[in-house]
Amino acid sequence: MVYFILKRLIQSVFVMIAVAFLAFSLFRFVGDPITQMTGVETSIEDQERLREELGLNDPFVAQFVRFTGDMLQGDFGYSYRTRQPVGEMIATRVPATLELGIVALLISLVVGIPTGVFTALRPRGFATQTILLTTLVGVSIPTFVIGIMLIFLFGVQLGWLPTFGRGGTVQIGGWETSLFTIDGWRALILPAITLGVYQLTLTMRLVRAEMMEVLRSDYIRFGMARGVPMRSLYFRHALANTMVPVITIIGLQFGGVIAFSIVTESVFQWPGMGLLFLESIRFVDIPVMGVYLVVIAFFFVLVNLIVDLLYLAIDPRLRVKDTS
């Protein structure tokens, strides 16, 4: 077990380096940071001097080595746009994105798993068909359209909820949270729903598919024949057996949630990492983009590691294979 974890940790480091490399190689194509850093009246020599100072004329490999080397020493560099330390900039944005992502994921699970089970148990019912169709409409409208619609319905027309930002935040040990104020929760509702709606449908459909599959299996039929109570069959045996793929999906979803929070954050002006990243693309803020990607990669690697470990805990059959 320890050996397995160690092995995964070493692999994870390679994944991160690979992401850093890919990310870094794409920067060169995003645009020219210099024209975004200077005004129209700045002379071409001044622009060239800045380019030289920032090391943008150095060979690609040298730039990459410097980037990763500095990062390994904990030096994340300075933003081209604001000249602030990138580590700090990202750190202040992490809580907003994580809180939004986790609440969205919770919404998708809390709603998705029960409706998935329900629609699996009554596959032909009118309610099931209605739920399936409604959620389909939900995933068929682009996220950004849903977000703006929600803003205009609940923010402008009804005036119930704020239209942008995080509302009231509180500092708890360096973590800026909006979960402990009413304002904060009010501001969180719309973005979390917008972000969660797609994942919700996916969760529901997967739970449903898995559940229907399991319900047909021999041991459930056998249990029915033996007179095991249906409630116990459904929830203790059947649902438990759908959990392996569902955990995979949750792991995958968290990645999806963080990635798609870029769109949600942009629509709701939610001050998270995704918004910072979008601004950085606009200004070709290479250091911020690079560190953002590596941080995102770190989250993915972490979540995947946890998912794999959960696999081992849940399904003993996999244990034999992976530890051998």
Binding site: V137, I141, A209, A259
Partner: protein, 301 residues
Amino acid sequence: MIAFIKRYEGLWLFTRSPAAIIAAIVAFFSIFGAIFAPLIASVNPYDLASFSLMDGLLPPVWEDYGNPKFLLGTDDQGRDMVSSILYGARLSLIIGISAMTIATVLGVGLGLAAGYYGGRFDMIVMRIADIQLALPAILTALLIDGIARGILPTEVQQDLRVAVLTLAIALSLWVNFARTARASTFVQMQKEYVQAAIIMGQRPIRVMFVHILPNILGPLLVIMTVDLASAILLEATLSFLGIGLPADSPSLGTLIRIGMQFMLSGEWWILWIPTVFLVALVISINILGDFLRDVFNPRLR
């Protein structure tokens, strides 16, 4: 023989499912319209000379000031909405179907092999998958777009936008297939029939595709249907973030992105007509996907 029975059974089931019939009709007309767009559409929305700004912002024909020449009105450029939607659907379907196909082939192939062989190969595939997952779709699109811009001459870049976008979307979707295929393959590998096939000395390719694949199709089909839909939506989202298709060769997603600007300005048709069309198309695809899954996997009925 089995295939024949399945088809026959499928047809019988089909006649009993009104949702599937409606979905099939919608999908048929969309795909028909998309394929024959150049013949049906009154103007070619890619041909800048074929429309005029003078016709801009006309409402659909049933509203005041509607013009019978433009059944569903025009956008801010004077482009006929009917023609735009037909051409847009064509482009969206091309991108969605190709991206999904590439993702499926790549993901299922790698996932099956990873599950089957396990060990080092599995490790490598899964770590590549991790790398891919760690790069959100928007970044993959930026990366592919950037590399294409780096290596292709400027003249062809504009023409290859569709291919670049398709590849970017496919690359951000294949991991779902790979991970699901791998997890399911692991489970199947423990089953007697697979062990029996391996012991009987059947070639790995045959074991994977003939024995294992049909038994893991259920979850894969769900992902395929959901992913065809998400491929089409992802294209729209990328275009919203400014890395999709240019406005002069619009897909449905681009039309919606353009329409967003007019959400509050009174010209509702520019946004809502393509949106309703997109939603109808995506829902039809999903319903048909559900239906196909039922046919393929009778145990779910």
